[in-house]
């Protein structure tokens, strides 16, 4: 069986919302180079933006002294983005499906970002180990249309 060649790209960046633009550009360049169409590139960019926003907001509570590790693995079939933080974790399975009508009546909406990630990407996997290593993996296949 022929082995698929994998390329790896890495970005280590401080956990700041101002850096989201740099992260999006990093992702955009790789996704475009991989051959995704414009719509898919936008979707990947937004999903990564949401994952990093979650880490900045929830894991690191907007502390810009902490770091985000972003790795991208590219082969002929797919693009996988792995985002790692070492902050406080959460249980992604316990997040409700966001209900905006309910939000209009009462409580704060939650889980919008994760809902977006799951809709935009083909695979989303979490590995949560609070304070040690929280990891989210986002996968998009080149020959599939998701959202």
């Amino acid at each position: 069986m022929k082995k698929t060649r994998k390329q790896k790209f890495k970005l280590k960046i401080s956990s700041a919302t101002e850096n989201l633009e740099i992260i999006r550009e990093f992702i955009n360049n790789i996704a475009t180079k991989a051959g995704f169409d414009e719509e898919s590139v936008d979707q990947i960019e937004l999903a990564v933006d949401e994952a990093c926003t979650n880490a900045i907001k929830h894991a690191y509570k907007y502390s810009t002294k902490r770091m985000l590790d972003i790795s991208v693995f590219l082969d002929t079939e797919k693009m996988e983005i792995v985002i790692i933080d070492k902050g406080g974790g959460f249980n992604p399975d316990k997040l409700p499906v966001p209900n905006l009508e309910k939000y209009m009546r009462a409580a704060k909406v939650g889980g919008l970002g994760i809902h977006l990630m799951r809709t935009l990407m083909d695979e989303v996997n979490f590995s949560i180990n609070p304070g040690k290593k929280n990891q989210v993996s986002l996968v998009k296949y080149l020959d599939r249309k998701s959202a």
Partner: protein, 117 residues
């Protein structure tokens, strides 16, 4: 983030330019809308034509503002949505709870038959 405001028959139309991806932009938007509520301007149109990026935090900020304006007795309506932003609204189901129009004129006229805020 830039705001440009104008009045059309008692309706305040606010065009915003920049990105809505979280603080400080989302806070600035909330402050701007809150000041309109305090001035008694409760018929508000937000033109998003020049918003080039929005994440779930932006959607959350729009929801918060929509709720605040409605609680004060008015409404917040949107115009100028790009396909990209429409997709985000579709996925987050914001499209079902907020009124969206093709132009500022249509959005402003939609308030015509409603009691003056």
């Amino acid at each position: 983030m830039h705001f440009v405001e104008r009045l059309d028959n008692g309706v305040i139309i606010i065009s915003i330019k920049g990105k809505l991806t979280g603080p400080p932009e989302t806070d600035l938007l909330c402050e701007r809308i809150q000041s309109k509520i305090e001035e008694g301007r409760l018929h508000i149109v937000l033109n998003l034509k020049h918003i080039n990026w929005m994440s779930s935090l932006g959607v959350g900020a729009l929801m918060k503002n929509l709720r605040n304006v409605r609680e004060a007795g008015g409404d917040l309506r949107l115009t100028g949505l790009s396909d990209k932003i429409k997709d985000i609204f579709q996925i987050t189901k914001l499209i079902g709870v907020i009124q969206i129009y093709d132009s500022d004129v249509e959005a402003a006229e939609s308030f015509k038959d409603e009691p003056k805020a």
